[in-house]
Amino acid sequence: MTVLLSTILTLSLLGILAAVILYFVAQKFKVEEDPRIDEVEKMLPGANCGGCGFAGCRAMAEAMVLRDDISALYCPVGGAECMKSMASYLGKVAPEKEPTVATVRCGGTCAKRPRNNTYNGAKSCAVASTVYVGETACAYGCLGYGDCVDACAFDAIHVNPETGIAEVDADKCTACGACVKACPKGIIELRKKWPKNRAIYVSCVSKDKGAVTMKACKAGCIGCGKCAKVCAFGAITVENGLAYIDPQKCKLCRKCVNECPTGAIVLKNMEPLPKEPKAPAAKPAAPAAKPAETAKAAEPAKPAVAEKKESVNEQK
């Protein structure tokens, strides 16, 4: 009995002693912190995705409270509403930013862009892109090993096994930009998010010459410039053999979509314009060389490498 009692007593005494020490230490080393940081942190989505450029939501909240000018800060996950509520709580001016969505700019599906070799190294786009061109002849297209999928904290991007290309779920995407950074080919872009997830964009980033692109992929932009000519808003520029639609200028008029000979301009969640009957008058608008190129596109496009390989076998 005495053993039991002494045990209880010693342990209780030890506990009390430790509590007292802890109390004084906590008092002495107390960190004075703006209580608003906690409040602001609660308003943030708590995804800790790093989309704002900070290490986590806590760091973002600190910056929100401590900086006078918060115009450079933006939480892509919480969006405008979240920014507004935080700004009003802090008595600061919220930055205006329109919502964006990650867009995968490659249309080189398995059907359109034939595979001419098999990669069996580490399943990582970053690794494969340092080894060689990829499983197709296109040096710019989606590799499909899913570095973007690994980077996404919101389960918003997946590689479609049928097409071999990453696809974004626009409803889940928070435009944090993690996939944009992860993609070694720079295919993913944050573009303006239209209502109902409508979108028009050039689904190709190949800077190869038209003929080269066409050999590698049936859905590539060949830089013919037809889209730029038809655009009434000056939203389309063609540089290095690649068309780009400026999301700020584009009004979703859809004219360019029908012009594109390869279907590289993609229309999402919208009906295409009815096809105009091709009037002979429209032809002179295009340079003389272009129809020939379009005709070539109709041929079954074989990748350069595969052709050469066959020739080797014939020699055998």
Partner: protein, 450 residues
Amino acid sequence: MKTFPIGGVHPSDNKQWSNTKPIEVLELPDVVNIPLGQHIGAPATAKVAKGDKVLTGQLIAEATGFMSANIHSPISGTVTAVDMQVNGQGMRQMMITIKREGDEWLPEIDRTTEIKRECNLDSAAIIAKIKEAGIVGMGGATFPTHVKLSIPNGCKAEYLIINGVECEPYLTSDHRTMLERGEELLVGVEILKKALGVEKAVIGVENNKPDAIAHLNKLIKQGKYAVTVEPLKVQYPQGGEKQLIAAITGREVPPPPGLPIHVGAVVCNASTTVAVYDAVQKNKPLIERVVTITGKELKQPRNLLTRMGTPISKLVEMAGGLPEGDVKVVNGGPMMGRPMINIDSPVTKGCSGVTVYSGKEAHRVEVESCIKCAKCVSACPMGLEPYLIIRLTQKQMWEQLEAEYITNCIECGCCQYSCPAGLSLLDYVRLGKSTVMGIIRARAAANAAK
């Protein structure tokens, strides 16, 4: 027998497929493609345009700055294009295309096989001649030789080490060169010694080439050359520059930016040394090299004296064509060579061999989870921990990677070779290394800007 201090593996070398095949001269190709960037450093600048007539050995592209190398025409004919062409990895690269018309050499090139031993040039003149001939390291690293020979201020070369190790399995081009052009090699060593002003010269040869060791020793005795042959233990990567220096001198080259010259050593590949002889004594630029074409299922593995720019498919054809089924064609040896998807790509200065793998060999082994067996750690010749490095790379922890000396990695492949779980260790180590190197360069640039 000497060897390097830590790590290493023993893959079966399979050199028996081609090490008894004498060097044969490959028939001249009808068209050659010469990449402008086939060495470490800045790509050369083209000096010819479409339609120009060139002679064999004529300068067609000039070094861009110090860290670059000249390129000469390997055949005579007409330049048909200076344009982007697809290289072995399927990437587009600037190349000069020449269509062959006969084989007319520049008159000043001495094409006789007679050995010319006396060399009355001084160090600067020798280095200038080597630079003029566009010689780069032919073991695969393609580091411009004249840069290596230009000793930076404050350093002094004590050892000239000739790398006749050829530790890379399968390849036999250096082995055959040492056997068939031994005399030229030894004269080349004397020229290099003169260029560097060193007394000690050692030829390191792995002990699986006893015939080459005996042959060189015989020639040294006959010709009274002041050079020794050091037989080395058969262990990969014995021929890695840092490993070879450690094996022969016992000194360890510090991590980057440390260079071999910081421990007083200059290493030169055996084939490169022969090329130095050709350049200095015969005025012959680097336009051809010995390429081993080998593989388990190839009908006729060979050692072929090949002009630069020859399509690799021509070598494959000479070896009896590609085997049936799945194949992997590699520019270089099985441990460090680069895989190819376009075998019409040209032979370049650093192409010591083409190896072909078929069937099961063409595939990687199945990947399982890491069992922490520590085989990668004990195999690493640089004393790194590959298992840890790939974990840090996958988590993108670059600062920690730098602290783990990732930049010291020589990408020899010992870790991945020995991994029983078949992990893609080197793939990720390489990715981490290149990222960290980029960060270091950016930091250096930022510091310089300050």
